[in-house]
């Protein structure tokens, strides 16, 4: 089953031929001359992709299974706390994520932190259980800052454990 990352890797290889993605990115990180501004593709990874399930600045962190946005732990916040000067939106979407270390499924609430422009770091998009906009409670495509006092401006997203999922 081709995962998203594999597909993108494939594309990258086709394009960059012998250049590994990492080295291309490193070169990029260095600087660019005369090229277009190159934005970030939302990173999506399943647990299968490995990565760093215990690093809360990583998209692979186990809590982030339905994350969509910038990881607050990269922005001055933590996995569960908004960065200074932002406001946590009270309404949210929720995912059920498995913690590999104890093998249990947890209900995780994703709260957007609002009131400043995009943090711009650690964009992470994992759509496990995401549903279209006509199912708002399951839709991570909404800007949930709409429910905060700050209004729409979206900065980053935190994840909070709400409980253990019952089967």
């Amino acid at each position: 089953m081709a995962r998203y990352d594999d597909m993108v890797e494939g594309f990258t290889r086709r394009l960059a031929k012998t250049v590994s993605r990492r080295s291309v990115l490193r070169a990029l990180g260095g600087f660019l001359v005369g090229a277009a501004a190159v934005p970030v593709l939302p990173v999506k990874r399943g647990h299968a992709a490995g990565g760093a399930p215990d690093d809360e600045t990583s998209c692979d962190y186990w809590r982030y299974c339905a994350m969509d946005g910038f990881i607050c732990a990269c922005c001055g916040g933590t996995a569960r706390a908004c960065p200074p000067g932002t406001e946590a939106a009270p309404i949210t979407w929720v995912g059920t994520c498995r913690n590999a270390s104890d093998g249990r499924d947890y209900i995780v609430s994703y709260n957007d932190c609002c009131g400043k422009s995009s943090c711009g770091r650690c964009l992470c998009n994992r759509n496990e259980g995401d549903r279209p906009l006509y199912l708002p409670a399951n839709a991570n495509d909404y800007n949930w800052c709409v429910g905060s006092k700050s209004g729409a401006p979206y900065h980053c997203t935190i994840s909070r454990i709400m409980g253990v999922a019952t089967k």
Partner: protein, 393 residues
């Protein structure tokens, strides 16, 4: 000194010229030779009627959402024709059926990303791309990853419909003729707008139904009601990214079933379901996906779909191929267009020699294909930051 500064003689107020001369200090102001008349200041305009091969690229600019933009490009030459600045969390513009008005639902904050929120519909002149008017609307415009059904215009060009999410769900109705906000229509449990006639639209609902609304001539609801169930939102939800085929909207489910929503009669109902994929292809995990993953050429009866191989929950993944199905032949697949780069949005022009446009939200460029042969004609670089959706006519 190889460079010196002189003010523009035709435009500069005398006082400022004097100031600049004073500012220049020890640097002498050069005197221009008299044999050439200075070129005048000029601003370009567009032809009254654009080419059918023009395309709008809406950009939400995800990392800098206060700075939404819409780029107008010519698919034949690959040149940029102009740009609009369109505010916070931009979800895209609408062009009236006759092409005479560009209507753009926009959101602004008094301090960029804080302070008082103001929502307006800005009207732009399609020839000058300058704002010609602004219609205040309630500050409720839905913010989400851009998709075309965020707003829509009725078939006669009269009413602009805008989806609201606060998270209460409603539709703002704007009269483009009188340039006024008419009112709000509640669509509880439903989302987005799909116009179906001069005075009709529907929204799509969480229980698998649609909410159909008929407007009177003032834009107020004349009738409204929920349809029968059109699809199963639990077992196999359809994406919100439907395309319109005359009186029918074609939705596609996560698994790849086409769900036609027919609005020709008085009753909005589901048409005969068919699949983009064969059982073998389904076995190989071929699925539709993207941000604007469907495009249509109604006259040629062709449906274009962004397809990729992926597991569950990959309904927003970019396509690695575009599949073309013949609607006249019951949805028989007639073409597979392999992509060298992933795409998340596609759109097809409606003329006799159609172009197919493609963008990927992760790369600032526009790809232009021959929509008939599927061959890549050109790639236009430096088009926005996170190009989101496409508008063709």
């Amino acid at each position: 000194m190889s460079s010196r500064s002189v003010p523009s003689p035709t435009e500069l107020p005398i006082a400022v010229a004097g100031l600049l001369a004073a500012l220049a200090g020890a640097v002498p102001i050069g005197s221009a030779g008299a044999q050439l008349k200075p070129e005048p200041l000029a601003v370009t305009t567009l032809p009254a009627r654009g080419s059918p091969h023009w395309v709008w690229v809406n950009d939400i600019v995800f990392h800098h959402m206060a700075d939404g933009k819409a780029f107008l490009l010519d698919g034949d030459s690959g040149t940029m024709l102009g740009m609009l600045s369109t505010g916070f969390g931009y979800t895209g513009l609408q062009v009236s059926p006759d092409g005479s008005v560009i209507a753009s639902p926009e959101t602004y904050f008094s301090r960029g990303t804080r302070g008082t929120r103001t929502d307006v519909v800005t009207l732009y002149d399609p020839r000058t791309l300058a704002p010609t008017g602004e219609i205040p609307i309630p500050p409720k415009r839905a913010g989400h990853i851009p998709m075309r059904a965020n707003s829509g215009i009725t078939d006669d060009g009269r009413f602009l419909l805008i989806y609201n999410f606060t998270p209460a769900q409603s539709v703002s109705v704007v009269d483009l003729k009188s340039r006024t906000f008419v009112g709000e229509i509640d669509i509880p449990g439903c989302a987005l707008v799909y116009p179906t006639g001069p005075r009709r639209f529907f929204s799509i609902c969480g229980d698998g139904t649609a909410f159909a609304v008929r407007l009177d001539d003032t834009g107020k609801p004349a009738s409204r009601g929920r349809t029968a169930r059109l699809f199963d939102p639990v077992k196999d939800p359809v994406t919100e990214k439907a395309v319109r085929d005359g009186a029918t909207w074609l939705f596609v489910s996560f698994s790849g079933d086409v769900v036609p929503v027919e609005t020709a009669g008085d009753v909005t109902k589901a048409g005969a379901r068919w699949s983009l994929t064969t059982p073998a292809e389904r076995q190989q995990n071929w699925k539709p996906g993207g941000i604007q993953h469907l495009a249509i050429h109604p006259k040629r009866r062709r449906l274009y779909s962004l397809m990729h191989q992926g597991g569950p929950d990959t309904h927003k993944d970019p396509g690695s191929e575009i599949w073309v199905h013949d609607l006249a032949a019951g949805g028989r697949r007639v073409q597979r267009i392999p992509l060298t780069k992933p795409l998340t949005s596609i759109s097809v022009t409606s003329d006799a020699k159609p172009l197919l446009f493609g963008i990927f939200i992760g790369a600032p460029e526009l790809q232009v294909f021959d929509a008939v042969s599927g061959s890549l004609l050109r790639t236009v670089s430096e088009v926005g930051f996170t190009p989101s959706t496409l508008v063709t006519r």
